[in-house]
């Protein structure tokens, strides 16, 4: 555990406080600063050290939260549902197979509009057996009604985790939030991070108010999550009304995510693109699209390509769910070719999932843009600056030739 942070009696100062830590530790520190009432966890690679940091924070008396070591992820999230309904601020973290085991309460959490925050330390899908990073787990659950934000750096993990509580608990949103941090690259990647002051985080998050809409509270008797739909009771209209409400919450989240990022930037001086980051897109002729930690290498490659005279930029997605259609369309409105780099596979369309979703956004743009799907970084594979130079070349070639009908597998020969 890094030295001074969250120590009892540490004197607040106006000096910026820096430490070097891994993404998993940054997430744990951010959670401690958000002062949750209950954390429930089950360790799984590459999330385990995040859980260990949380356990130590509680054991050392730096975090005043109940920590529940449940017998599995299904119970982890079920425990938190009860805590949230009782009015608690809640957090958990998981990945890959743990997320799969959590699926039943995972779906129910968004339907019950419980603002539970979860770090998803992304891991590739098994089998083939692996314990390494990839976005397959997060992509698999992109239609379950959780807000999902992907981070690029360790600093962004820390800041986004704090923001996640504000976004989730916003009365216009009331949805669970995943902070997606790349397994291996962000979970274990150590970097310098600037820590906010506890008092500033307290002021930013304000008073928690998480069970104003549904509660386990003897003073406000109600039945939570009763039977809806079907032929009994009030019929299909009830079910439809709540489903529409979830969709409304997701659309509201687009606005709230932008507002919360703007306020965070003002208060703490660190600004992150909330939905979509446009990197060197001003006069770009063609663009790459990236997600998560790969964006750093992509930016280096684009800088070098720019030096070599290529008019290329990057559209980096931060918020993948809800999909920021308008922001994506605005970012792509002037380009003539697009290369989308996914860290996961879309089995049904034989391309990357983000590529497929972007094609949907391009339909709104009303213009055909030659586009290619690149799939790389599976099971912890590195997408290097050299790989991105190949991606840039192959995307530039779309300006002259036809787009490939199949995905291009980046690490095929590594």
């Amino acid at each position: 555990m890094s030295a001074a942070i969250l120590e009892k009696g540490r004197i607040a100062s106006n000096e910026p406080h820096h430490i070097v830590c891994e993404g998993n530790e940054a997430a744990a520190l951010a959670v401690a600063m958000a002062r949750p009432d209950m954390v429930s966890v089950y360790p799984i690679t590459p999330q385990s050290s995040l859980v260990e940091h949380l356990a130590k924070l509680v054991a050392d008396g730096r975090m005043d939260a109940e920590i529940v070591d449940a017998e599995g992820e299904h119970s982890v999230l079920s425990v938190l549902q009860g805590a949230a309904l009782a009015g608690g601020r809640t957090f958990t973290a998981t990945c890959g197979p743990g997320l799969a085991f959590m699926f039943e309460p995972y779906f129910r959490t968004s339907g019950m509009r419980l603002p539970i925050v979860m770090a998803l330390v992304t891991r590739d899908g098994i089998t083939p057996q692996s314990v390494w990073g990839g976005h397959q787990d997060a992509m698999t659950v992109r239609e379950v009604g959780w807000v999902q934000m992907y981070c690029e750096s360790v600093q962004e993990v820390l800041d986004t985790t704090i923001m996640a509580f504000r976004i989730a608990e916003h009365h216009d949103v009331m949805l669970p939030v995943n902070i997606c941090l790349d397994g291996n690259y962000l979970s274990y990647g150590a970097a310098r991070v600037t820590l906010p002051e506890q008092a500033d985080v307290d002021a930013f998050l304000g008073e928690k108010d998480v069970n104003w809409h549904a509660a386990l509270d003897p003073l406000r008797p109600m039945a939570v999550d009763p039977l809806t739909g079907g032929a009994g009771g009030k019929g299909p209209a009830t079910f439809v009304r709540y489903r529409k409400g979830q969709c409304r919450g997701m659309q509201n989240a687009l606005r709230v995510i932008a507002d919360v990022h703007a306020e965070y930037g003002e208060r703490f001086g660190r600004r992150f693109a909330p939905l979509v980051e446009e990197y060197r897109m001003d006069d770009a002729e063609f663009a790459l699209m990236t997600l998560g930690s790969m964006s750093g290498a992509a930016k280096d490659a684009v800088d070098e390509a720019r030096d070599a005279g290529k008019r290329v930029g990057i559209v980096k997605i931060k918020t993948f769910s809800p999909f920021p259609v308008e922001a994506v369309v605005a970012a792509l409105r002037r380009i003539k070719a697009l290369g989308v780099v996914d860290r996961s596979v879309g089995f049904r369309w034989n391309c990357g999932p983000m590529f497929q979703e972007t094609l949907g956004a391009l339909y709104r743009l009303g213009r055909q843009i030659p586009a290619a799907s690149f799939i790389g970084g599976l099971a912890g594979a590195d997408i290097t600056v050299e790989h991105f130079h190949r991606v840039i070349e192959q995307t530039e070639a779309l300006l002259r030739g036809a787009a490939p009908s199949e995905p291009i597998w980046i690490n095929e020969n590594d």
Binding site: A214, A223, G233, T238
Partner: protein, 100 residues
């Protein structure tokens, strides 16, 4: 069913809670098994020796004790027939519910 409540039921409209967030119910809307049962247990009083095996096995606890025999609360009986199967005296017979 008891209507006693220490506190009034939550009123989402009064609390300003939109009606499309977490599904909640604030009025009792019982759908008792007796409304959809297809078979009904009938106890032959002469055969019943009050051994309470039916009472012990009933999964919904709808067996009620009378002074001279055990009977069934048909509001909550779902007609599963476990009591009839388990009764050592063969005192319970499952009969079809009549239509309507």
């Amino acid at each position: 069913m008891s209507t006693h409540r220490a506190h009034p039921m939550f009123d989402p409209a009064k609390a300003g809670v939109p009606d499309d967030l977490c599904p909640i119910a604030t009025e009792i809307n019982p759908m008792l098994p007796g409304d959809w049962r297809s078979m009904r247990p009938v106890v032959e009083r002469e055969k019943c020796v009050k051994c309470a095996v039916c009472w012990l096995y009933c999964p919904v606890q709808c067996v009620v004790e009378r002074p001279a025999w055990f009977d069934i609360d048909l509001r909550t009986c779902k007609g599963c027939g476990i009591c009839a199967t388990e009764c050592p005296q063969r005192a319970i017979e499952m009969v079809k519910e009549t239509a309507g």
